[in-house]
């Protein structure tokens, strides 16, 4: 089923359609190289109800394009195909395993008089390769996080197992893709870090070390507050995707009961535990429940080298959430969970209120921070740190931005320009709507600023951005 969400444009009768997912498939050309066996290449196809021959045709076309473009540059075959109606993205996730995503271009439907069918105008230049290319790669990363690599599935249970896994995962995952609200932040796939003073940070370190020492089963720990990362024992790339899962899927699912009142039926049983506010977000909802199952989601990390399969325990007290990762070869028992709850619960509750207090103190010191006039997005490739004053709230379902999509598009374009060269550079754009958009790249960092100053000239805009750098980023080294 296609999800088309019409949006009313300025014109009374015009109807605007946002980009949407047409199809999504995974194939491996080496699986059906003989004539007549083409269907074997297809490992997953969405929508599944598409007729078999059409599937084969579409896969064959992609295969051909990739193969053809390879002749020009063997190492970098085509990444996307632009057509009037849609855009196709190709991604070789693993050796010979290709994932293809077809996105329908946004379009405007203009009604015609005299009962003639409306004219459809495709806006083929509106969507950015970088944004959707990143979305596609993220699909794979998310799959890999929970299922491991395609190759390992093949080793374990052949094509059948792989197809089973793909089907199970993508059937649900694709429903959560919201292509209309993808933007520059998807390109970055960054992590928001929680600003914290040194002492509180050290306390968290100490907490993590102590827990890891007394519960030696724990292999890695990650610590988040307010959906922002503070500490990760996982490597950066694994943390990036886990962070994405936590903040766009797991936490939003659990935030409602937390916001609900104490007596609300939404609130999980706090089985008489008044000593602390700790609870499991994964695994057993209630430890006291004799029927409770001690099963946790499994994740795969370090797939490049050590290839570890881990239990993912997410435990939360107030706004502090901790992920404990334990080797999947260990069976987790009720005793272990109770021990963890007893040890972590009280400490984490205390720590969470410490952090909250410290955070409020810092906010008071820095003054009543009115939202600066600047709208900006900052990203550091080195530590994946991202900060946006443009996005109000980003969850799986919606990404609310406070600026017009046209401006977001300009940001994306500047980002593409930056990606082309290695040098540090700065781009200043005057948008149609009187906004100024400034992009700045220094070493690994990128900063995008949107200024709403109609009559400002280039020099004033430049000064303004310098001022922003001095106030917001005085700690870091920006080359002018």
């Amino acid at each position: 089923m296609l999800m088309i969400s019409p949006r009313m444009a300025s014109g009374m009768q015009e109807k605007q359609y946002t980009p949407s997912l047409l199809s999504f498939f995974v194939y491996n050309p080496s699986f059906g190289s003989r004539e007549g066996e083409e269907e074997k290449k297809i490992l997953f196809y969405h929508p599944s109800e598409v007729e078999k021959n059409e599937k084969i045709r579409n896969v064959g076309l992609c295969e051909a394009i990739v193969q053809f473009t390879r002749t020009f540059c063997p190492t970098k075959p085509a990444k996307s195909l632009h057509t009037q109606k849609n855009r196709q993205f190709f991604f070789e996730a693993e050796d010979s395993f290709w994932i293809v995503m077809v996105v329908r271009n946004p379009m405007v439907e203009k009604p015609n008089k005299d009962g003639r069918p409306p004219t459809i105008e495709y806006q083929e230049e509106e969507i950015l390769d970088t944004v959707y290319g990143a979305v596609l790669r993220e699909c794979y990363s998310m799959y890999k996080l929970f299922n491991g690599t395609f190759g390992r599935a093949m080793e374990a249970g052949g094509v059948e197992l792989l197809m089973q896994k793909l089907d199970k995962f993508f059937y649900r995952y694709l429903q959560t893709l919201h292509l209309q609200s993808c933007d520059l932040l998807d390109v970055f796939g960054g992590i928001a870090f929680f600003p914290l003073d040194k002492m509180t940070y050290l306390k968290i370190q100490s907490f993590v070390n102590r827990v890891e020492e007394s519960l030696s089963l724990i292999k890695y720990t990650a610590f988040l507050y307010n959906d922002q990362l503070i500490w990760s024992g996982l490597e950066q790339d694994d943390m990036r995707i886990l962070y994405k899962y936590l903040t766009t899927s797991l936490f939003p699912r659990h935030s409602e009961p937390e916001l609900a009142g104490r007596d609300s039926p939404l609130r999980p049983e706090v089985a008489g535990n008044l000593l602390h506010y700790g609870r499991f977000l994964t695994g057993p909802a209630n430890l006291k429940d004799p029927e409770a199952k001690f099963r946790f989601p499994r994740i795969f990390v370090n797939t490049e080298d050590s290839y570890e399969e881990l239990h993912l325990i997410v435990y939360k007290a107030m706004s502090a959430a901790v992920c404990f990762m334990i080797s999947a070869s260990v069976e987790l028992t009720r005793e272990f969970c109770e021990q963890l709850d007893g040890l972590v619960g009280p400490q984490l509750t205390l720590l969470a209120s410490d952090i909250c207090e410290q955070y409020n103190v810092n906010r008071r010191i820095s003054g009543p921070d009115k939202e600066p006039q600047f709208k900006f997005i900052y990203f550091n490739h080195m530590n994946l740190a991202e900060k946006s004053t443009i996005h109000m709230r980003k969850t799986a379902s919606v990404s609310l931005t406070s600026v017009h999509p046209d401006l977001m598009k300009i940001l994306g374009d500047i980002n593409c320009d930056f990606a082309r060269v290695d040098e540090d550079e700065e781009i200043i754009v005057k948008a149609m709507t009187d906004y100024w958009v400034v992009g700045k790249k220094s070493d690994q960092r990128e900063l995008y600023v949107i200024l709403n100053q109609k009559n400002a000239n280039l020099i004033e805009v430049n000064e303004e951005v310098k001022r922003l750098c001095a106030t917001q980023f005085n700690n870091i080294f920006f080359l002018d």
Partner: protein, 661 residues
Amino acid sequence: MSEEHYLELCENPVQFENASSVNNVFFDEANKQVFAVRSGGATGVVVKGPDDKNSVAFRMDDKGEVKCIKFSIGNKILAVQRTPKSVDFISFIPDYPHLECSQECKMKNANILGFCWTNWNEIVFITDQGIEFYQVLPDKRSLKLLKSQSVNVNWYMYCPETAVILLSTTAQGNVLQPFAFKSGTMSKMPKFEIELPVVPKPAKLNLTERDIAVATIYGQLYVMYLKHHSRTTDSPCAEVVLYQLPREGSCKKTNVLKLNTTGKFALNVVDNLVVVHHQSSQTSIIFDIKLREPDCALNVHQPVLPGRSIHPYRIPLTGPAAVPTQPPVPCELYSSSWSVFQPDIIISASEGYLWYLQVKLPLTVNLLQDKGKLMDFLLRRRDCKMVILSVCAQMLNGGDKGGLPVVATVFDKLNQVYKEYLEAEQTYTVATESGPSRGSAARERPVRTQAVIDQSDMYTHVLSSFSEKKDTCHKFIIAVLMEYIRSLNQVQITVQHYLYELVIKMLVQHNLFYMLHQFLQYHVLSDSKPLVNQQLLHTAQLFHESTYPPAHQLSLDMLKRLSTANDEIVEVLLSRQQVLGALRFIRSVGGHDNISARKFLDAARQTTDQMLFYTIFRFFEQRNLRLRGSSSFNPGEHCEEHVVYFKQVFGEQALMKQVTV
């Protein structure tokens, strides 16, 4: 069971001729001298003090049995009591005639119980009817009465350290009247009553000097009362009750030490610890009145450590009779012939030894399992530094039970003491800098006791060797280092760069770059130049940047935050061939007039980017023009080869035209 004899008798006791029918032995607590008086002094008096300086030998006429004999402070005047009514004086002042005189007590029918020197020429007679305070005038061969006070006295006790005399008064003897003496003045302090377990009827002397001791503990004067058990009260065991005697104000009962047994006891004070010897079990226990028991009512103390006997002591056989191969004879400990004096003296008159009692701290550490309590205990001891450091090392290396929480507790305790010292030092510095104008400014420089264990101590004796241990999990090592840094931060002590270096070294060794990165991101490893340099060194030498590219950005950020490291920033950028970036940076901070043209031209040449070289060259030509009115380089700048190269590549005409004045 290995016996940890944590108490010992000192190795070099004061030896004297043992007491016998012809040799009387006296001990003076004030000067810590032992007097061996042979035949009333006629055949010699030998005085042995704690060191040879205080040892004297002389003869005096035998004028009857000596009851008491003491030198004044500094061995100036000798006082000898032979009769109940009078005391004789002999002057020992060098180059002065051996003058003698005698003084009778003023009060009629009074008997002299004893006397105490409070100065080189001031003496107090204690009689059964009061006290008399005299000044000795050796040149006039007479004494001048300074002050006297009449009161019925059962017995007395003297604390030479504080020059306080305690008199036992009333029929039961339990009302104690202290007097304090100070250069010619005598002041009466408030009297106080010792609570007796049973009040005898009719009233009779019930409190004897055997059960009372006076000593200074933690700088305060205490009267210690050995309260024996009584069948009529609830407490079946003996206890020591401490009364604190402040200089001003009245005396109050402050501490109770539970002995948990009965029998004969003796008290010593060593290193501010109250040592209680128990004769029948031949063991001693120690109490620290600053150590609070969590499960006890306030100021009721249990022994810090389990009771142990004093370390066996062997008396070496000396003198002509001794054969060298003959083994030393074990000395009988807790002998009934021992006399115990405050604060830490044990005398065996029959064997002719005076020992100082000592606590062997290293042997206490295994008796106290609770590491936090052990630290509290050790931090208050005199020679504690090496013991504490060894406890820390042992705690980290032994794969110990307590783990990180215990490590954290120990660090916190050490750093609390460390911080208090730093603060005192700080206040002192401020006070002295602001000048002695203020009345209260005459403070003393804070004393750095051994308990102040600073970062370099920890580094040298504990952490550096610990971090090199191969058999210890690196995770634990890093956790411990971070715990120490956390503890320092908690009390706002600036962390020294070598600790950060240790952490960085560990992280780098184990390829934990992302961890290091996160620490830097939260400024946990605060910036300091050595740190950045180290960082750069690591980047350059160990991983050639490629293995962990962010190191470059990290170090630049740290340099930026330093704000005094512009030169270093330029160096980093140049090393990365970002010549234009370096130039723009130095211009933005206004340092471009002072930089070396040659350095930038060298760097530009290395990039083999000719346009870049052109740009840089042009920049410096313009600078030359602006600064000196000519675009050519000075010979001192050593840019000749670059000028040649420039001409070669771009032609002579490309050089900036010389401006003719």
